[in-house]
């Protein structure tokens, strides 16, 4: 191996660093005064050296001075108690981060060392960055968005709309190739085949998935209400935390909140809740469960109809039976009333007849009274109407007798009064 500085060209890659360090003392002593480097050349050579000598490494430390440039590249330093190292994360890698790490956050990065030639700065080109601790960056991103949406009231329970009992059509947003669509169709066909399904395909993982799903939700919002899409299922089957990350996207969350019809989130996962779950009107653990929540069950409906029929028939039978009883009872009552009426009439008639009888003059004659009449036929009531020797007639029960007055009339013997009343006790 030749002296490094004897030729202004980089070392071939892959040569072990150890070899050179053995030769170092000789080099230091023997720098060629005839060869002069520029900073550019020097830095270029050192960069080549560094990059070829150090394979990618994992480095853990505390993030400080994180800055996301408008270009999308991110710059920061990693430090521990004794040292720090400059880091850069290019846009292509940085945009996979769920959020920016907080100042002072403990992270672990995978990176390759290099030299930033322009400044002669040693730095780490970071390809991956993981937050250490519970949930790491994902948790941090989730919590940040959660706090923001909560502050806006978008996660409030009173915002949740009830699902329609009988949707005319169910909107489904998921991948055209996943099992989720198949599961949803299967459940709806089994439970409520009269319900129409309107399917809008969208990628549910990877770059741009959240935006695509959000766009589909907005598209459903522009479908005329007459098309009958009364509820929306947005989801996918299970996957890794990163696969599900689209459902923690702010854009998607806001699209759900803005949907004119209730949204059911169906992100297949066991433990973690996504922002989509929290902001949706209803959360289902799987796409199948979402479909079950969306449509009624034909069997339950059939039971309900059968029950309705039974109750209808029973009620009307009972009502008709009561009507028959009522009629029977009414007939009997009518008869009673009539009989009562006839009896009352008869009694009244008998009473009237008796009264009439009592008032009749014939009854007085029958009891032995007689009525004196003047020759002209006038009833003679008082003694003074009888002149001595005058003729008069006497009406008795069965005829009239011719009579003549004998002797004087005596006032005391014939007191004034109705003969009919007076003679009762005589």
């Amino acid at each position: 191996m030749l002296d490094l500085f004897s030729e202004p060209v980089p070392e071939p890659r892959g040569e072990p660093a150890r070899g050179r360090s053995a030769a170092a003392p000789a080099r230091r002593a023997g720098a060629d005064p005839g060869v002069t480097y520029t900073p550019s050349l020097l830095n270029s050579i050192v960069r080549e050296l560094l990059e070829s000598a150090c394979p990618p490494v994992w480095v853990s430390g505390e993030v400080t001075g994180w800055k996301r440039h408008s270009s999308g590249h991110c710059y920061f330093s990693l430090r521990d108690a004794g040292a720090q190292v400059r880091c850069v994360m290019w846009r292509a890698d940085a945009q996979r981060l769920p959020t920016d790490p907080a100042e002072g956050m403990e992270v672990r990065v995978l990176g390759a060392v290099t030299l930033y030639e322009k400044r002669g700065e040693f730095q780490l080109v970071v390809r991956e960055l993981e937050g250490s601790g519970r949930g790491g960056l994902w948790r941090l991103a989730f919590e940040k968005l959660h706090a923001r949406l909560t502050a806006e009231g978008l996660l409030a329970p009173e915002r949740k709309r009830p699902l329609p009992a009988f949707p005319r059509a169910v909107g489904v947003i998921t991948s055209a190739s996943g099992a989720a669509l198949h599961d949803i169709l299967h459940v709806i066909e089994r439970r409520a085949p009269w319900t129409r399904v309107v399917f809008c395909p969208a990628r549910v993982q990877g770059e741009g998935a959240a935006a695509e799903v959000a766009r589909a939700i907005a598209l459903f919002g522009r479908v005329p209400r007459a098309a009958g899409v009364d509820v929306l299922i947005v989801g996918r089957g299970g996957g890794s935390k990163e696969d599900l990350w689209a459902f923690n996207d702010e854009l998607l969350a806001r699209a759900i909140a803005a949907s004119p019809v209730p949204v059911i989130s169906a992100v297949g996962h066991e433990t973690d809740v996504t922002i989509a779950d929290l902001i949706a009107d209803h959360r289902a653990p799987t796409p199948s469960a979402a479909a079950e929540a969306a449509v009624p069950d034909v069997r339950a409906l059939e039971r309900r109809l059968a029950d309705g029929r039974e109750r209808l028939e029973r009620a009307v039978r009972r009502r008709a039976g009561r009507a028959r009883d009522d009629a029977t009872r009414a007939g009997a009552a009518l008869e009673d009333t009539l009989q009562e009426l006839v009896r009352a009439r008869r009694e009244r008639l008998a009473r009237a007849a008796a009264q009439l009888e009592a008032l009749s003059p014939l009854s007085a004659l029958r009891r032995g009274y007689a009525v004196p009449l003047s020759p002209a036929g006038r009833v003679l009531r008082r003694a003074q109407e009888f002149a001595p020797g005058a003729p008069f007639r006497l009406r008795v029960l069965d005829g009239t007798l011719g009579c003549r007055v004998e002797g004087e009339a005596g006032g005391e013997a014939a007191p004034a009064g109705d003969p009919l009343e007076r003679t009762g006790d005589g």
């Binding site: 709806i188 129409r196 399904v197 009620a315």
Partner: protein, 81 residues
Amino acid sequence: MAEEVRTLERRLQRLDAIVAELERENLELEQALALFEEGIGHLRASEQVIRAAELRIDQLLEGPGGEPLLTPLATPEAAAP
């Protein structure tokens, strides 16, 4: 079908109301019979709706102007992977 489903919900609600009304004791016979007939009508129509039809699937795509385009997809089997 969409309208039939909407009326299905109304029919079921009406049916519940009719049953409750009929189960009240103080109903005129004529009124009871009229309610019964109406109830049976709703029952038959509802049964017809829920017994009907294969699942219908439409696909929703975005038109060039951002407008929603609905096109029918054949059967669940054709749409599923």
